[in-house]
């Protein structure tokens, strides 16, 4: 590990001095658009709404309409399940940096609700909004473990096709075998790196984009004759 010399010192926070200008040519690389799509679902009811991300959505709505909607609709939707807040935050960033939409859940129970397998149909984002293309779950969780969640997903006729990745801080061969046999796509050791996430993109299932759909009830994605 080394540092660049003072002559070549690069900044880690270029924005603090020179904010980038959003133009049509660079919007697709603008990371904040990915970030705005993060929705957090946690047991604490006060955190249930994602209004914190709505402030800049107007801005996004305008840009999305003017640009290629196809990119937005094809962005994979990942459900991250982990009881650790630190890990949820890190995984969320790993996936949004890889151009994914992320929803987080702090328990297997919550995850199942979000996948439409719970009692409360209102939290089923699989029905209301863009479908989940990938589930990434921690193995060790209180109550329902990642393995239990994996089993439930694979046993359900609605959602068994969704690939499930199990992550764990412990390298236990019997555990790994058990998960793979139960249908986990992969078992990855924590902590995850950006390289791991890039490789996972091949596992994500894409569902057909739907016309004129309200995306999370905030703005309408309209297809024009220009877009394919």
């Amino acid at each position: 590990m080394g540092f660049k010399t003072s002559a070549e010192i690069q900044t880690r926070h270029p924005l603090r001095k020179n904010p980038p200008q959003l133009t049509d040519s660079n919007w697709s690389q603008t990371p904040h658009l990915h970030r705005m799509e993060t929705i957090t679902h946690e047991s604490d009811p006060t955190e249930m709404d994602s209004s914190s991300s709505s402030s800049s959505l107007g801005e996004i709505g305008v840009e999305m309409k003017n640009n290629n909607n196809k990119v937005e609709e094809e962005r994979p939707h990942v459900l991250v399940v982990d009881d650790s807040l630190v890990d949820r935050k890190i995984m969320e960033k790993l996936f949004t940096n890889s151009a994914c939409k992320v929803t987080t859940a702090d328990s297997g129970k919550k995850a199942l609700e979000l996948l439409g397998q719970g009692e409360d149909k209102h939290t089923d984002i699989n029905q209301q909004g863009p479908k989940i293309n990938l589930v990434v779950t921690d193995y060790c969780m209180p109550g329902m473990t990642g393995y239990d969640l994996l089993k439930k997903v694979k046993e359900s006729s609605d959602i068994k096709e969704i690939p499930v990745i199990v992550v764990s801080s412990e390298n236990v061969p019997t555990r790994i075998k058990k998960c793979l046999e139960e249908g986990a796509q992969e078992f990855i050791l924590k902590p995850l790196k950006q390289a791991d996430v890039k490789k996972l993109r091949c596992h994500m299932q894409f569902t057909k984009p739907i016309k004129g759909r309200l995306c999370m009830g905030r703005y309408t994605m309209k297809r024009t004759s220009d877009n394919k």
């Binding site: 590990m1 080394g2 660049k4 209180p142």
Partner: protein, 152 residues
């Protein structure tokens, strides 16, 4: 701009020492690489979550070990969590201490556990102070109009 250069040099030296002395490992670098213009405070935010989490865990551990009949499964569960979160941010010495701690839990060794609690708390406080100092240095550089050196 001599002040900025000096601060930057200080920052580089300090960071290098943290890695050399094992307080931080590569995972911390990975976190810094994740940070970008869309979320320029990402590292500070994650580390703050870690601090909050850790204080809770340390309290829970102290309580669990003070019970008349110690539930070692419960103690181990807290240590496992602590090991996980410290590993996720690259606080290597804390993680290593947690590994030791778990061994004592498995042996149901109360004295060993109590000692480990002291040591893990000590390591946590050390790394917390060092990270806070690092973030302060970053702020000083930015306020002086400079940019924070990037690690390779």
């Amino acid at each position: 701009m001599a002040a900025v250069t000096q601060l930057q040099r200080q920052f580089i030296e300090y960071t290098t020492s943290l890695y050399n002395e094992g307080y931080l490992d590569d995972q911390f670098t990975q976190l810094q690489k994740l940070q970008d213009e869309s979320n320029p405070d990402f590292v500070v935010e994650v580390v703050s979550l870690f601090f909050e989490d850790s204080e809770k865990l340390l309290n829970n551990l102290a309580t669990a070990l003070q019970q008349k009949t110690v539930d070692y499964k419960q103690v181990d569960s807290h240590v496992h969590q602590f090991k996980g979160s410290s590993s996720s941010i690259g606080a290597q010495r804390v993680t290593n201490m947690c590994v030791l701690f778990r061994n004592y839990c498995e042996e149901k060794n109360l004295e060993g556990c109590m000692q480990c609690l002291q040591q893990v708390r000590h390591e946590y406080v050390l790394v917390r102070n060092k990270l806070e100092a690092l973030f302060r240095l970053e702020q000083q550089i930015l306020q002086a109009g400079g940019s924070v050196p990037m690690m390779e």
